[in-house]
């Protein structure tokens, strides 16, 4: 197996852990708060999900930069100024800064959860949709911001329907 294949596989595993983790974090959170109290089993499930999310982002960042080094060493440096790449780097930053803001409670939960959920799915979509590069960085990020609020609305509606 060559380095490119190895890095792509690791990148996909990181994305699967991240997107899956973000999805199940939301599902477990909703199930946990339904009875108005998060018990020790529910807390343990949530902690395990966040652990998988962290593994996902570590794999994603290391393999992503591994692919960038490979591009640099093979002379394919034009990819390093690709708007899709910079959008993905921005989303990664949003995910890690959002985790800090949630920890110190400087962001409303509804926005923090929507940012995490949307960022992971947006990273997945951008990773697969090569044609998105043509839209440019600003357009991609504008669509992302709209998506964050749409997802926040949908998650709020699900919470209202399921919990309240």
């Amino acid at each position: 197996m060559d380095w490119h294949t190895f890095l792509i596989i690791t990148h996909i595993i990181g994305t699967v852990f991240g997107v899956g983790g973000a999805t199940f974090a939301e599902v477990f959170y909703l199930k946990s708060i339904k009875d108005g109290d998060i018990d020790s089993t529910e807390s343990s499930f949530l902690k395990t999900t966040y652990f998988i999310l962290r593994i996902g982002i570590i794999l994603l960042v290391l393999s992503g930069f591994g692919l960038l080094i490979l591009n640099r060493l093979e002379g394919a440096t034009q990819y390093l100024y690709n708007p899709r790449l910079w959008a993905k780097l921005t989303l990664t930053l949003v995910i890690v800064v959002n985790a800090i803001l949630l920890e110190i409670r400087l962001i409303p939960i509804w926005l923090g959860f929507s940012l995490s959920f949307t960022s992971w799915y947006a990273a997945l979509v951008l990773g697969l949709w090569r044609g998105a590069s043509a839209a440019g960085y600003v357009t991609i990020m504008l669509w992302y911001i709209i998506a964050v609020f749409v997802v926040a609305f949908i998650l709020g509606a699900i919470k209202k329907w399921y919990v309240e």
């Binding site: 570590i58 960042v61 290391l62 930069f65 591994g66 960038l68 080094i69 640099r72 060493l73 440096t77 034009q78 990819y79 390093l80 100024y81 790449l85 780097l89 930053l93 890690v96 985790a99 800090i100 920890e103 110190i104």
Partner: protein, 155 residues
């Protein structure tokens, strides 16, 4: 001798990037640990140690690559290309911030080792250590992204 030196340059670049990223992740993990209400001292010590070691190794590998190869072979290509600001702004900034990272990481390590037991009783000490960890992580993130900008300008 010269051929051996040139042959290890890609390995040095790979080590610089990957170990530097491990440093950024470790200082971020340290920051997140410090922000928790009840921090695990063992986790904080491990993260601070890994951050310090990683930033020091990334410092030497990057420094060696810069002195031996970048200045002579890469810098002229960037300056003559379409993105000369990748060197004149990003690399120049990186060169100066480069000096802070190992010092900040060692400071964090010493703080956690010497004062870690007092974090739960002295919240100001814990908050200010978290601030240093946040500054270290922010500089580390800038260094990583600036590295992408600089590498992309080599055409």
């Amino acid at each position: 001798m010269l051929n051996n030196m040139i042959a290890i340059l890609p390995q040095l670049l790979i080590a610089h990037v990957i170990i530097g990223l491990i440093g950024v992740m470790s200082s971020y993990a340290l920051l997140m640990g410090l922000l928790k209400r009840k921090a695990s001292l063992g986790f904080l010590k491990g993260a601070a140690w890994l951050a310090a070691i990683s930033y020091i190794i990334a410092w030497f590998t990057g420094g060696y690559y810069y002195i031996v190869f970048y200045g002579k072979a890469i810098k002229p290509v960037i300056k003559a290309g379409a993105y000369p600001w990748a060197h004149s702004f990003f690399m120049e900034t990186k060169e100066h911030l480069f000096l802070f990272l190992p010092i900040l990481a060692i400071t964090l390590f010493v703080l956690v080792i010497r004062c870690g037991v007092a974090f739960d009783t002295h919240s100001n000490l814990k908050k200010n250590t978290a601030l240093v960890a946040a500054i270290t992580t922010a500089i580390g993130v800038f260094m990583a992204l600036a590295g992408v900008v600089i590498s992309g300008a080599v055409r």
